[in-house]
């Protein structure tokens, strides 16, 4: 099916607001051309409805047609029956309406509260329709891709997007990383937000790899003045030819009992061991990890006796702490203050990508991400409160990107990590999360429910699908759209920043052409801004 201006599909024959409406296809429309996820418009008497095709089915007017099929090799019979006795129906979930009077045109699309009447004509949504709903590319809106099987540019209002925490989900290898890069570029260009990216697999800052083995450019290569690469593994970064801005070291005194608590499962610590950490921290002060590292046997038994910690618990704890101390970037005294360095860059609206180099094990990632975020968040909180008290401008929004999010946000520890707090407290302090994960079911329900906009690639685990779609209206319909996405480069976006869910194909990232487009649009905006100055 080509993208006609308003190609007619059929008419509304049944439906309900909750379950969506059934459209009987015209005889001339081939059912094979009608695909799930496609947008349609329904022209009601007073308003236009926008909806998404969520199911396609076949119907017959008389059960006998199915029981004793006619001779369809006869072209005449086949032609007569098509669209009359045998017909296709599609199920459409109406999502938005636009009234026809001037006032409602100004208001823009509204959520549906009713459905179109019987026999309202249905057509494929045109490029103009899509534009009316999602808006054009402008200083706030960023082109993220095209709705499935359409050429129209689908735009996302990024200024709105960064106001809440968001999630990108999908099986491994579906294109999450690519889309995250696109979104990061968008935020860098179109929102005032600064980004802090915990880049576990070294994919965002400098050249990343594709599954086919080709390499793609990182953010720093495209926008050198707007992106700083921090690294935990200087040697690895140097080997990969990355120009880094800052080498992050973490001092013993920067590690808090909360950080250890997060790593309980990873470090194989027992519950009493975690309680012991808090006790020890209270007893020994900020330098506790350092002291424990060099503690002699005698002093140890004194401490254990004093705090009433069981000997085996203490051994268990010491083993876990040794693992932390063995991380090469954890040093007794950090020569530089990473938090300060990151904040300085963020304040200048420079986005920070923290590379983990070779330290890709989850313990390092959880420890560093949590520790840095906690302190940065605290600073933002302090600033915001001060700004609110004095009526000064609030700090620029900060978006923290984390991968393998279920390690931070699983129900067991979501309450304890800073990320759980950020996700729940949302934008109060102008800090939000961009959560990337392949197992959304592993993330705490409460956190999932707080995510504003969700982008999801193909998921095939039932629990993952349920957890992503929890609380969305038209869930079961979206589920069928989601389950039928292509294994790569097709995604569904829904939530706060989009007026209605849409299945789309993310724009290209990785070819010379695509880089040029990203960078020129950046220039164009700068030029525009200059005009206003």
């Amino acid at each position: 099916m080509t993208q006609g201006n308003s190609q007619r599909l059929g008419i509304v024959v049944a439906g309900s607001l909750n379950k969506g409406v059934d459209i009987r296809l015209d005889g001339a429309v081939s059912i094979e051309d009608v695909v799930v996820g496609r947008y349609v418009t329904i022209q009601g008497q007073k308003r236009r409805f926008f909806g998404m095709i969520t199911d396609v089915s076949l119907g017959v007017s008389d059960p006998k047609l199915a029981q004793t099929p006619p001779d369809v090799t006869d072209a005449f019979i086949a032609e007569v029956l098509a669209g009359t006795s045998t017909y296709g129906t599609v199920h459409v979930l109406p999502m938005l309406t636009i009234g026809s009077d001037a006032a409602s045109l100004v208001e823009g699309p509204q959520p549906v509260k009713s459905i179109p009447g019987h026999y309202a004509p249905v057509s494929v949504a045109s490029a103009q329709d899509i534009e009316r709903v999602f808006g054009k590319e402008d200083p706030r809106r960023f082109w993220i891709g095209n709705p499935l099987e359409m050429e129209t540019r689908l735009c996302l209002d990024l200024a709105e997007f960064v106001k809440r925490s968001n999630g990108i989900f999908g099986k491994s290898g579906t294109g999450k990383t690519f889309f995250t890069r696109i979104l990061l570029i968008g935020m860098l260009q179109k929102s005032k937000a600064a980004n802090l990216i915990f880049d576990m697999h070294n994919e965002y800052g400098w050249a990343g790899t594709w599954e086919e083995g080709k390499s793609v450019k990182g953010l720093k290569q495209l926008f050198p003045s707007k992106v700083a690469v921090f690294t935990l593994d200087e040697e690895n970064s140097r080997q990969r030819g990355v120009s880094t801005d800052f080498v992050v070291r973490i001092g013993y005194d920067e590690i808090e009992p909360e950080d250890v608590a997060l790593l309980r499962q990873t470090l194989n610590l027992t519950e009493p061991a975690i309680e012991a950490v808090y006790q020890i921290r209270r007893r020994l002060g900020a330098d506790w990890l350092h002291i424990l590292a060099d503690i002699g046997e005698e002093a140890a038994s004194e401490l254990v006796a004093e705090l009433n910690i069981h000997e085996s618990t203490f051994q268990n704890l010491q083993r876990g702490l040794a693992t932390i101390r063995r991380l090469p970037f954890v040093v007794p005294h950090a020569p530089t203050n990473a938090v300060k360095g990151i904040l300085e860059h963020l304040d200048r609206n420079v986005n920070v990508v923290l590379e983990f180099g070779r330290y890709r094990d989850i313990a390092a990632y959880v420890l560093v991400a949590n520790m840095l975020s906690r302190r940065i968040y605290a600073r933002y909180q302090e600033r915001t409160e001060r700004a609110m008290a004095s009526g000064a401008a609030l700090p620029a929004p900060l978006v923290i990107t984390i991968e393998e999010a279920h390690k931070f946000l699983n129900p067991e520890i979501a309450g304890r990590t800073i990320f759980g707090t950020i996700a729940r407290e949302m934008r109060k302090y102008n800090v939000t999360l961009l959560v990337i994960d392949q197992r959304p079911s592993g993330i705490d329900e409460e956190v999932m429910s707080q995510l504003g906009t969700k982008v999801t690639y193909l998921l095939d685990n039932e629990r993952d699908i349920d957890s992503v779609l929890a609380g969305v209206s038209g869930r079961s319909e979206l589920k069928s759209v989601l389950a039928r996405l292509a294994p790569r480069r097709q995604a569904l976006v829904f939530g706060h920043a989009v007026p209605m869910p849409v299945a789309f194909q993310p724009r290209e990232y990785g070819s010379a052409e695509s880089y040029k487009e990203f960078v020129t649009s950046e220039r164009a905006i700068q030029d525009l801004e200059k005009l206003w100055e």
Partner: protein, 195 residues
């Protein structure tokens, strides 16, 4: 010139019976004929025809034993042409008032002795622009089954169409809607349209 076939000898709201002026000059089954009731022109579809003795009590008898051909029977018995009659029944499927054709029953039946004409190709084409008459054919309870009448009528109309195939497909679709709950009947009629 309009081809005059005969005149009405019996008329009801739903049909009329006409006797042919000439023995055996019957319009084909399913053909569109017309007659008149003052200003109203009545259209009918021929659904049945019969040739029989003029007097109901006198049946014809076999006469050709010594003749060489069938024509020879009539040649040697010229009175036969006056003792036999050909009649046909037409189901009324619409009427015309001024320029407008209505495909439903006329207000009054035809007058006895109204002339009956065969419709010209142009008339057939303008009548067959709508298929509302099909329901009148499908709902008949006559000695000839409705599938036969409908099939014959559409074949006759198809004969004069510019695009016969498109016409039959459109008619078929209309039938499919009317017979949406009776696929067996639809199948029979569609089978008769192809011929």
């Amino acid at each position: 010139m309009e081809e005059r076939l005969g005149e009405v000898i019996e008329a009801t709201t739903g049909e009329f019976v006409a006797q042919c002026y000439e023995l055996y000059r019957l319009p084909p089954l399913g053909s569109l004929v017309k007659t008149r009731d003052e200003a109203v022109e009545l259209y009918g579809i021929v659904y049945q025809a019969a040739t029989s003795s003029l007097e109901p009590g006198r049946r014809p008898i076999a006469r050709g034993e010594d003749e060489t051909s069938e024509e020879a029977i009539y040649q040697s018995n010229p009175q036969l042409l006056k003792l036999l009659k050909s009649e046909f029944n037409a189901l009324i499927v619409g009427h015309r008032l001024g320029d407008k054709i209505y495909q439903h029953l006329p207000p009054r039946p035809a007058h006895i002795h109204s002339f009956v004409y065969a419709c010209s190709d142009d008339e057939i084409r303008s009548f067959s622009q709508s298929f509302a008459f099909l329901i009148l054919l499908l709902n008949t309870h006559r000695p000839v089954p409705p599938e036969e009448i409908t099939g014959a009528a559409l074949r006759e109309m198809g004969r004069v169409q510019e695009d016969r195939h498109a016409f039959l497909v459109a008619a078929g679709k209309e039938l499919a809607v009317l017979l949406s709950d009776n696929f067996s009947q639809l199948k029979v009629i569609l089978g008769r349209l192809k011929a």
